[in-house]
Every structure is written in C-alpha cells, then in structure tokens.
Symmetry: C2
Subunit: 320 residues, 2 copies
C-alpha cells in the first residue's frame, strides 16, 4: 500500500484538509467552516469528523500514517500543544495533538501555520532544494517562517519567525502588537490601504482621491495604471520590506527568500524598490547570493508543509 498522510490547515474561518501522497500529490480534499461556538470540543469534533471522511474516501489508495495540523498559533511542537491562538482562543493551552490522536488512533503533529508554509515551499515550492530559506507572507498582516539547515526555526517558546514585527521605522505607525513601526505597518495589504489614504492630501489628482472604500487591489490597479500616489505607496511597501530583509540577510545569510501571501501579487510594483534597498543595506556577498522569489504553492503551502512534517515525523524517511 502507498504511504499517505492527512494534512490540515486550521484557520480562524475555515478548516481545509487533504490526504497527501509521498510526492506531495493530493488524493482528496475537504473544506469546512471553523465552528463559531468557541468550544474546543467542536473544533476537535470537526477535525476528527473531517479526518474520518478523508480516510474513508482514500481507503483504497493507501495507508494514512500520520496527521499534520497547521494552526495560527504559538504552540509547543514537541508536546503537540497550542499555547496561544488569537483567532482560535478556545484552543489556548490545549493539547490538541493528543486529543485528536486519541480519537483517531494515528499520530498527530502540530505546526505553526507560517512555519508550515515555509516547510511546504521548501518541500515542493519556491525554496525547493535549498537548505536555508526565509518565507515571508504578505497578507492582512506579515507572517514569516525561517528554515535553517533544512529545519524550521521554532525558537525556545515556538514564537520565532515573526518577521512582520521587525522594526523598520523606530518612531513609525502604531502596530497591533504594542510596538510602533513594525514591518507589518508598511508592507501588508492593510498598510497599502492606510498609506494610500495618508497620501491623499499630497496627491490631490490621484485617480482615487475620494476613496473611502479603497482596497489594496484598487491601489495596485492604480499603480499599474501609472497613478503616482499608488506608485508611491508601493515604493514605500518595497522600501520597508527591503529594510527588514536587508537586516535579515545580514543576520541569517540565507540562500533564498520566498515572498507569498495576497499582497505579494503586487510583486511587479514593489520588487524594484525592494531589490534596491537590499542592495544598499545588505553586505554584498550575502546580497548577491540570496535569491528573492515568489511563493509557488499559494494556499496549499501550509497543508503541504504539515504533510511533509507528518511524513518525516512518522519516520517514513523524509528528513525535516
């Protein structure tokens, strides 16, 4: 029988699950809404129910050896315990892995979603074949995962990789984390909209000078149409991303930096100022070395990451 694993991406809104084969091929997929009840039993029931459906649907394809779950949480990977999950607070301080494992009778592994995405891209995506990589996810916020010697850098408490909360402007815009001037306040979809609004008075002729319901996509579309305000927004976006990544290149000297997330779709309007800052701010040798690439796996990066982890951790012979 072929070896397969279960892999889930448990978000605040949706649970996505798949059965993944040894080469990363998807055998089956399911999707459901994360329970709104805020009861941890309901989350466990959903995970177990979806898992049983997946197992049943792929019974003839092979044997499922383990189950990896990516969660938006600070967690203790070794213990399979969620510590803090801001968007799933019902899972705070909960041994999710053993709860699910006890009901399903297979090994369960937990991983932080940003780390999972970095592992996924490293297995089958944009950083494939590289031993050291940084994965930056530019979405509503800015997330990150760091791979060193082929392994995710989790840190002593499982909180490592918070690239979005590197300071890039010491007296800058207040951040939800309590600090000011974090990268997340300049190089995220949220930041694109805020910076556009902030610049309206300086660019009265901008194509969206009224723009109350502005989205980051509107700003991007304006930028590619040549709107100066929109281009200034993405210049700042790229500039500050370059400030942060330049520092990371100097500290970590990685082989590759993978940029993903919804806001990475604006690549063509921020990549030039980004590269310019990296060339200015990082030492020549590591700056010449590092490859800056778009993420390849989209929303599947996390699922494939925990699938890889489940294969590796259940000793099927793929090293993570």
């Amino acid at each position: 029988m072929k070896k397969m694993v279960l892999a889930a991406d448990l978000g605040g809104t949706n649970l996505r699950m798949a059965v993944i084969g040894e080469n990363g091929e998807t055998k089956y997929r399911s999707r459901s809404s994360t329970p709104s009840s805020r009861r941890r039993e309901d989350v466990v029931d959903l995970l177990v129910g979806s898992a049983r459906e997946c197992i049943e649907a792929t019974r003839s394809d092979g044997t499922i050896s383990a189950f990896g779950i990516a969660a938006p949480a600070v967690l203790d990977h070794e213990a399979g315990r969620v510590l803090v999950a801001p968007n799933l607070p019902e899972l705070n301080d909960f041994s999710l892995a053993s709860a699910v494992s006890g009901l399903l009778g297979i090994e369960v592994f937990l991983e932080n979603d940003a780390n999972a995405a970095a592992i996924g891209e490293n297995w089958l995506g944009a950083s494939h074949g590289f031993n050291s990589s940084i994965c930056v996810t530019l979405g509503t916020g800015v997330g990150g995962g760091v791979i060193i010697d082929g392994k995710p850098l989790r840190g002593i408490d499982g909180t490592a990789g918070e690239i979005g909360h590197i300071c890039v402007e010491p007296f800058g815009h207040p951040c939800g984390c309590g600090s000011v001037g974090c990268l997340e306040q300049y190089s995220s979809a949220t930041a694109v909209v805020r910076m556009a609004k902030e610049l309206l008075s300086e660019f009265p002729d901008s194509s969206f000078a009224s723009g109350n319901d502005l989205s980051s996509l509107d700003v991007y579309n304006a930028a590619i149409s040549g709107d100066p305000l929109a281009n200034e927004v993405f210049r700042r976006f790229g500039f500050y991303l370059g400030v942060a990544l330049g520092g990371l290149i100097n500290v970590l000297n990685p082989e590759v930096i993978v940029i993903g997330g919804g806001a990475s779709e604006s690549w063509d309007v921020f990549i030039e100022p980004l590269n310019q800052e990296i060339r200015k701010r990082a030492f020549k040798r590591p700056a010449d070395r590092v490859i800056i690439v778009k993420a390849k796996l989209g929303d599947d990066a996390g699922i494939l990451g925990v699938a890889k982890l489940a294969f590796s951790s259940s000793n099927i012979g793929l090293a993570v």
Copy 2:
C-alpha cells in the same frame, strides 16, 4: 595524557594564542604583534612559530589534538579558507587552515571571531547551558554571533551574524558598510562619541561642551556623574540596541542575549532604555523568556570558542 588544543585569536593588530585543556583551563599563553608586512607567508610563519612555542611549553601537560583559529573574516569554515578579511587583506582567498596544518601536522579549524566569541560564551561564559543565544559585541563597531541548537549560525557564505548592520533608523547616519542607520551607528563606542558631539549644541551646559578629544569613556564618566547630554547619548544607545534586539527576539526567540565588547562596560547607563524598548517591541512571551546578560569571558571569549570548536571537531566528544 590529558587532551589539549591550541587556540588563537588572530586580529589585525595582535595574535593571541593559548593552550587550552578540556575544561577550558589555560595551560599556556603567548602574544605577539600581527606582521605589518601584509605578506601572508609572514602571518603563517607567526602562527606556526607561536604554535610550536606553545606546544613545546606544554609538552609535559598533555597532547595537543587540534588547533582552532579565530579570525576577523568572512570565511568558509568547512574548507578552512579565509574569503575576505578587511583588516588582514593578505589572507583574502587563502586556505589558511591547510597551510598551517601542513606545517604543524595537526588539524586546524577556522572560525569567524564573532562566532568564536559566541561559542566561547556558550561553552564557559554567560550563555552556558543554553541552546540558543545571541552574542552582541559592542566595540568600535558592533559584531554578533548567533547560536541555534547549540551550533553557530554561519549562513550559506559564512557571513551570518552581522547584527551591527541591522537597520534601526531607515534614513539614519551613514554606515561604513554603504547603508544608513545601521545599529553600529548608534550602539558602538564610535557612535557614543559622534552622538555626543552632535548633541553639544543642544546641551551648551554639558560638562564636556568643548570636547574635541572626547572618548566614549569620557561620555560614560559624564553620564554616571549625571551629565544630561551624556545620559541622552546612552539613552539613544540603549534605545536603538533595543530596537534591533526586539526584532531579533521576535524572529529568533532565543533563550539568552549576551552583550560584550568594550562599550558594554557602560551597561548601567544603557540597560534601562534597552530593556524598555525590548518590552515595548518584542512579543510578551519571547521578551519575558529572554535573559539579557553581560558577557563573562572578555577578550578570551574568541580563544575559548575556537578551543571548544577544536575539541569538538577533532572528535573528542564535545558537541558543537
């Protein structure tokens, strides 16, 4: 016979060498001036000559199994090759380890001096017993070494750990590296003097309002005497160090940060603003976790670091 190693700290000015026992005890020390000839043969001759002296002097104490050399260079640790050594350019692109090893007949290991200091502090100093640590050296410039899972983070090109060139002020003071606003421009001995001079016009009553020959020690002495200008200098010093370390704590989630180097002697006047910024800028969990401590080994950190590396690399059973 007891096992011992040779360990050298090869700087632009001095070569310091010692014979070190398995518990880090110094059996013999030598010190000489680095040749001013800029000929690599002269550096090799000095290393070999000093090594022979050390070996001879400790012949009755045990057997020397390996030789570790710390150098202020970007280097290929595996190949034992210096790539770029700004203060010892005669060693650029030179296989120093095999040259010395060939003449002495013992294994030779090279390590970057900042990494060596981090390893030394981790073996016998301030980060002893911790698996993940950051070592920051505040001197004329700002150097750094990162230990993850008990091993130095070298990066793909051996350039990792350049904490002094994290950007802390995106439009800040020009740095020798070609960037602007690097940590080194705010939290080094050089920066203390510059910032003091910059602030003279704002503090006409300062005790060193004339101060052309100002040293960082003068500014420190003024600070502990209550001079407002000097205190403002060290507030900025601590502030920017906190900006950089806050980001590193968010990205690396280390157990301990060791602060050494000459300018770390000003600890009592910068530690409060440093801690304040870390509390403000780092996430609570990793900020509460991390211990900020003074380096313990002083100038011996590098020598002890390469001694540890020599013990480990020559398979005597100490893991690095």
